[in-house]
């Protein structure tokens, strides 16, 4: 079946006549949760989109929509993209999960890629990055850099992806600094510069001198810069404009290779539903340059951890580790399995906050 008939049958399934003018280009749609200028999460996904354009040139057309709320609006946006003839749609936020599944049912011949979700279908793939590996590196640097021994953490939503990050950062901070404490603030948003800045300021006022963020804007960096003597890490993107201080390193999500692979698979007709979860090794997670504000021996220590995570000789969740309530989780030398991580809803021993219930 060529694409023309594929599209025709998709349109037919909805009872629409004459939808989607036939075209030879592959059309790829992107649905973003924030604006492409957020300097973080969405910015990096959009870099992936631009990488597709650079790679395939005229063979591919990309379209995108910014700041799409997670819910009924996302469903409409994706339906309209599918109706406009998109062959492949990347939905780049966790909350698009149910809408993706709903729209995918209506358009069996359009391929969907959902970032950070866990529901799949014949035409829905999922993909995510092992951000927690980067968090382990941040935790180590943070544990070494803090003088107040209080590390602030801005969480977006208490979902497993974010909780993995908090645990990984805490474990590795604690390893190098047994006195370290974590203060966690939940922003309940992925992108809201005002709320993120408030959260950062509140943490700084509570004595935190290192701030880790799992939200998408650079507002916490700006708040830290104003406060002086507070260190931060770029989230999702390098945020290098705040280097060498307050931003002393970063986690960069590099989606470009994956996006190019998936578009190529659609062109070749070899696309199938997969679940991808890559970390530092395959390059989906990159650690941004560790700035000169970090002492050389700490930098060396961090680089050794990066190398060990990349080669796979060390797992960021390696026992002995207990759950927060003291019950054993991982025995000496045991590493966490992916299923537990993907459903992670508990803190490790030593964290004093509670996972919001």
């Amino acid at each position: 079946m060529n694409r023309r008939t594929l599209l025709a049958s998709a349109a037919f399934a909805l009872g629409l006549a004459g939808a989607a003018a036939a075209q030879d280009k592959i059309k790829v749609g992107f649905v973003y949760v924030g604006p492409i200028g957020d300097g973080g999460w969405t910015y990096e996904h959009d870099k992936g989109r631009l990488a597709i354009e650079a790679q395939f040139g005229d063979a591919v057309e990309t379209v995108y929509q910014e700041s799409v709320p997670e819910g009924a609006d996302a469903e409409r946006v994706m339906t309209q993209m599918a109706l406009s003839g998109a062959d492949l749609i990347f939905a780049t936020s966790f909350g698009y999960m149910d809408p993706v599944i709903n729209v995918a049912q209506k358009f069996p011949n359009v391929k969907f890629e959902h970032a950070t979700g866990y529901k799949r279908a014949d035409n829905v793939s999922t993909y995510s990055a092992r951000f927690y590996e980067g968090r382990a590196v941040q935790g180590l640097i943070a544990g070494r850099m803090t003088e107040s021994n209080i590390i602030g953490y801005i969480g977006a939503y208490p979902i497993p992806e974010v909780i993995q990050g908090i645990n990984a950062a805490y474990i590795h901070a604690k390893q190098v600094n047994p006195d370290v404490q974590f203060k966690i603030v939940w922003a309940y948003t992925w992108f809201d510069p005002a709320k993120e800045a408030d959260a950062a300021t509140a943490l700084i006022e509570q004595g935190a001198d290192v701030i880790l963020q799992h939200t998408d804007s650079t507002a916490p960096q700006a708040a830290a810069e104003r406060a002086g003597n507070v260190y931060t890490f770029g989230q999702a993107s390098d945020m290098a404009e705040y280097a060498p201080k307050p931003r002393i390193s970063s986690i960069i999500d590099n989606w470009s290779p994956y996006y190019i692979d998936r578009v190529q698979a659609v062109i070749d007709g070899t696309w199938e539903s997969t679940d991808t979860w890559d970390g530092i090794g395959p390059g989906m997670v990159e650690i941004g340059e560790i700035s000169e504000a970090v002492p050389a021996e700490v930098k060396a220590e961090a680089e050794a951890l990066i190398a060990a995570l990349a080669s796979g000789e060390y797992h960021a969740f390696t026992g002995p580790l207990n759950r927060q309530d003291g019950t054993p989780w991982l025995a000496e030398g045991e590493v966490a399995d992916d299923a537990t991580l993907l459903g992670m809803n508990f803190y490790v021993e030593g964290l004093t906050a509670e996972v919001p219930k």
Binding site: L14, L16, E66, P160
Partner: protein, 361 residues
Amino acid sequence: MIRLEKRPQPSRIWTVATPVLAVALTMVAGGLMFAALGKDPVVAIRTIFWDPLFNEQFASYSRPQLLVKAGPLILIATGLSLGFRAGIWNIGAEGQYIMGALAGAGVALALYPLDAWFLFPLMVLAGALGGWAWAMIPAILKTRFRTNEILVSLLLVYVAEQVLAAMALGLMKNPEGGGFPGSRNLQHYPAAANTELIAGTGMHWGVAAAFIAVIAAYVMLTRHMLGFQIRLAGQSPRAARFAGVNPNALVLICLGLSGALAGLAGMFEVSGPAGRVNIGFNQGYGFTAIIVAFLGRLHPVGILLAGLLMALTYIGGELAQFMLGIPAAAIQAFQGMLLFFLLGVDVLSNYHIRLGRRRVA
């Protein structure tokens, strides 16, 4: 010299003509902005206003979506307009919308997986009650302690958001959801789902309720004693008191009605298009509805049209974004222009414009 001279009565012709003029002015100013962004202004304007309605590729999907988007706006705005006419300012419809959704969804989730005909009506009742109860807080505080209902109702929105987050993470969390926040999807629970009444039309119970509310408000304002009292209280509170209007009762009724309608909107949304209770479920319908109410001149039929127009700019704006690559911020600016011109040209219905110097008599 341009002078403004107040008309004794708002001009009837201009009251009807100004919205059309405002849309035309928006097209010109917006077209200039799109041109400055390097986009073809004619194509952009056509994509926003024409394609959602008549483009053969999209229209059969986006026309029903107009109703889905406009339904809650119209329902909430109709309720708000009653209070606004009487000078009672409920700014917290967003919170009442959330509480209505929580109450309605709460009934369904508590009785899951009961399959009974009375479940959905029960949810409707709970939704209205939830919104009503949340609106009663500013109402009672105002009547008992003379607090300002604008502040109280607005601040309760943030309280409602926290309750929503707590519910999504705790009590209402889907036990089969693998620990993720968010409730069961009510779309997959047939007895509780607010489905389309006629497939493919977008017409769900919430849209039907919006139309009924518009008609009821129209009848009430023109034919009913309560409508007269509302209008009188807004135009002249003193005269209203002489006419035997009880201001406290009016506060309770207006806030209660607008709260109940906002709660209903939330309940229909959570059981229909949104599907589940989750953090971020509220997308600002309660605030946008304030704009819709004023855009519609606080008149039920005006609100109906204003709600549809707002929905059109949202859906057309989305099309323009991904079809033409116009940034989301430019679409928001475009919507802002529409509001600006609509309110700005109002001057024509209230004033004569005189050119030239005032002659000395």
